[in-house]
Amino acid sequence: MNFRTLTAAELHYEISALQVEYADLLDDDRLEDWPELFTETCLYQVIARENADRGLGVAAIFCTSRAMLVDRVVSLRRANIYPLRHHRHILSAVRVTAVADDLVQAQSSYLVLQTRADGATEIYNAGKYLDHIVFAYGRLRFSRKIAIFDTNRVDTLMVTPI
């Protein structure tokens, strides 16, 4: 697939569909399928805005391969101790910021709502995604996804990917 051959509307549709699929996998707790949306050598970073703005590298989550994403999910399932939470991603302002033959760059805003076991829902994390998207092995995948969150102060812990 050559991205330049797509119309702006087609491109926007394709990118949006990928974002929605990504959010669905996280929100429906289908985490084992989530790494499949990335390329094998990918970058996935969830970083506080206060670090990103200062050019400092420490991130809450920093994965440099799809295998590391798998390890995160396995750790969450087998190793980590955390309370039951449900998350809901609200996506908006999806837009393409650059197009090359084989790479689309996109930006969007997100809000993650968190519902605790007692049923109370709160805003958990707000930020923006900076994505690099490629066509690989028959479908669109993220070669890079950076979530820069405004919510510098994380409520208790972060176990599920953003």
Binding site: I47, A48, V58, T64, M68, D71, L157, V159
Partner: protein
């Protein structure tokens, strides 16, 4: 007065050795206020910054001691100052940004302006306008600066105190803490970034957690499974002479997988079925000739200094009432780290902080205690692992450092709010 040496009798049962802490210390607002006064604004040294956070003249950082807002500044002559973040006029926050650079500090409310040492430089309409208004004739500008705190530094860590009675910093920290600080801050460092988490529990539950080598291999499966920390490791729990500070350390190269597996047989902590698809997460470097791969140095009242594999960080505790605190992690490396080492530290940062594969669980541990003790302030915990006394040990199956913390706490605050 409860203490470790006293055996505790329950009616009809034989006495048992152990130390007990009444749960009210985690829930009582009066105790919390007393802590703010006697601990955080009392005769202690509180961590406020790393010097690398404010490297240049005019740099400032706003932070908290307990719940009290303060500003850390570096002024024109390079001196570090810590002042109360409260206008001397009518109490407004003077500094409303987390960090920045400025020639002076100005309150936005009425534009009272202070230099970086906190001296009041001037205020609008001091002499009135067209002969009307203005401050009284006896107004003495030198008496209306920002409150200044005592400041001392050690190896690039900045501490401040509200007390003019507390001993000098190095004496306050004592040889155990100074030794660990000099080891970890053995050369110039560089800032790698901050992480913050808001934990819905009392700050002292976290103080217990970081003095507790017993939980570390049981709660944190990731630690045990990948051999980062096991209670079977060569290591020690050391307590400062006052009990208030402690250091836990361990040596990962002392792991013996076969023997360790049998030691953890039947426990969920050692998961032999979990291996990493990308082991680069844990590919690190040996950094210290002493072979120590994990240090948790807990400094009373508000700091933890840590080395876990190649992650280096300070964790500052900021209190938010009886049932919440914020933990601010400031990660650092050494100024002479090469780019590979930078990457190792950034990758291993996955282990710590709010999303840390190891440390995320400590927030949960604090919260499940806070949730369970609500409304039952007369009941007490039971702390006895390792013998129930505040003594050093050359093993990690102990809660001795927790008792040291509480004995020091009893001396300052006491367990009985009526006294």
């Amino acid at each position: 007065m409860e203490s470790a040496e006293i055996t505790i009798g329950v009616e009809g049962l034989a006495p048992e050795t152990g130390y007990r802490v009444p749960y009210r210390v985690f829930t009582d607002p009066e105790i919390y206020q007393r802590e703010q006064r006697e601990i955080f604004r009392g005769a202690t040294w509180n961590f406020v910054a790393l010097e690398v956070e404010i490297p240049n003249p005019g740099d400032f950082k706003s932070t908290f001691i307990g719940e009290t807002p303060v500003i850390v500044t570096r002024d024109g002559d390079g001196t570090i100052n810590v002042v109360l973040n409260r206008c001397a006029h009518r109490g407004a926050l003077v500094c409303r940004q987390p960090r920045g650079n400025a020639a002076s500090l100005e309150c936005v409310y009425h534009q009272w302006s202070y230099d970086l040492k906190g001296n009041l430089l001037g205020l609008p309409f001091r002499r009135g306008m067209r002969g009307q208004g203005g401050m009284p004739a006896d107004f003495d500008i030198s008496r209306h600066g920002l409150d200044r705190l005592r400041v001392e530094t050690i190896c690039g860590l900045v501490f401040a105190s509200f007390s003019d009675k507390v001993e000098p910093l190095r004496l306050y920290l004592g040889p155990l803490a100074v030794g660990h600080i000099e080891r970890l801050f053995n050369r110039p460092i560089k800032l790698l970034g901050d992480q913050r988490q808001y934990i819905h529990g009392n700050w002292k539950l976290y103080a217990e957690n970081v003095r507790d080598p017993y939980h570390a291999s049981l709660l944190h499966l990731f630690h045990t499974t990948f051999g980062l920390y096991r209670a079977t490791q060569q290591g020690a729990s050391r307590i400062d002479a006052t009990g208030r500070h402690s250091a836990l350390h361990s040596v990962a190269s002392s792991n013996n997988d076969a023997a360790d597996k049998s030691a953890y047989a039947g426990m969920r902590s050692f998961d032999t079925g979990f291996s990493l698809q990308d082991p680069s997460l844990l590919a690190g470097r040996k950094e210290f000739v002493d072979g120590i791969t994990l240090v948790i140095l807990a400094l009373f009242p508000n700091l933890v200094v840590q080395q876990i594999a190649n992650t280096l960080a300070v964790r500052q505790i900021v209190t938010h009432g009886t049932d919440a605190f914020e933990l601010v992690w400031t990660h650092f490396g050494y100024a002479d780290d090469d780019s590979d080492m930078d990457q190792i530290r950034l990758k291993q940062a996955n282990l710590i902080g709010p999303a840390g594969l190891i440390s995320m669980e400590d927030g949960e541990a604090v919260e499940i205690v806070q949730a369970a003790i609500k409304g039952d302030s007369e009941r007490r915990s039971f702390i006895a692992m390792g013998g129930g006394q505040a003594v050093d040990s050359d093993h990690l199956v102990t809660e001795g450092a927790i008792i040291g913390f509480w004995q020091n706490y009893e001396r300052i605050i006491g367990f009985d709010p009526t006294k």
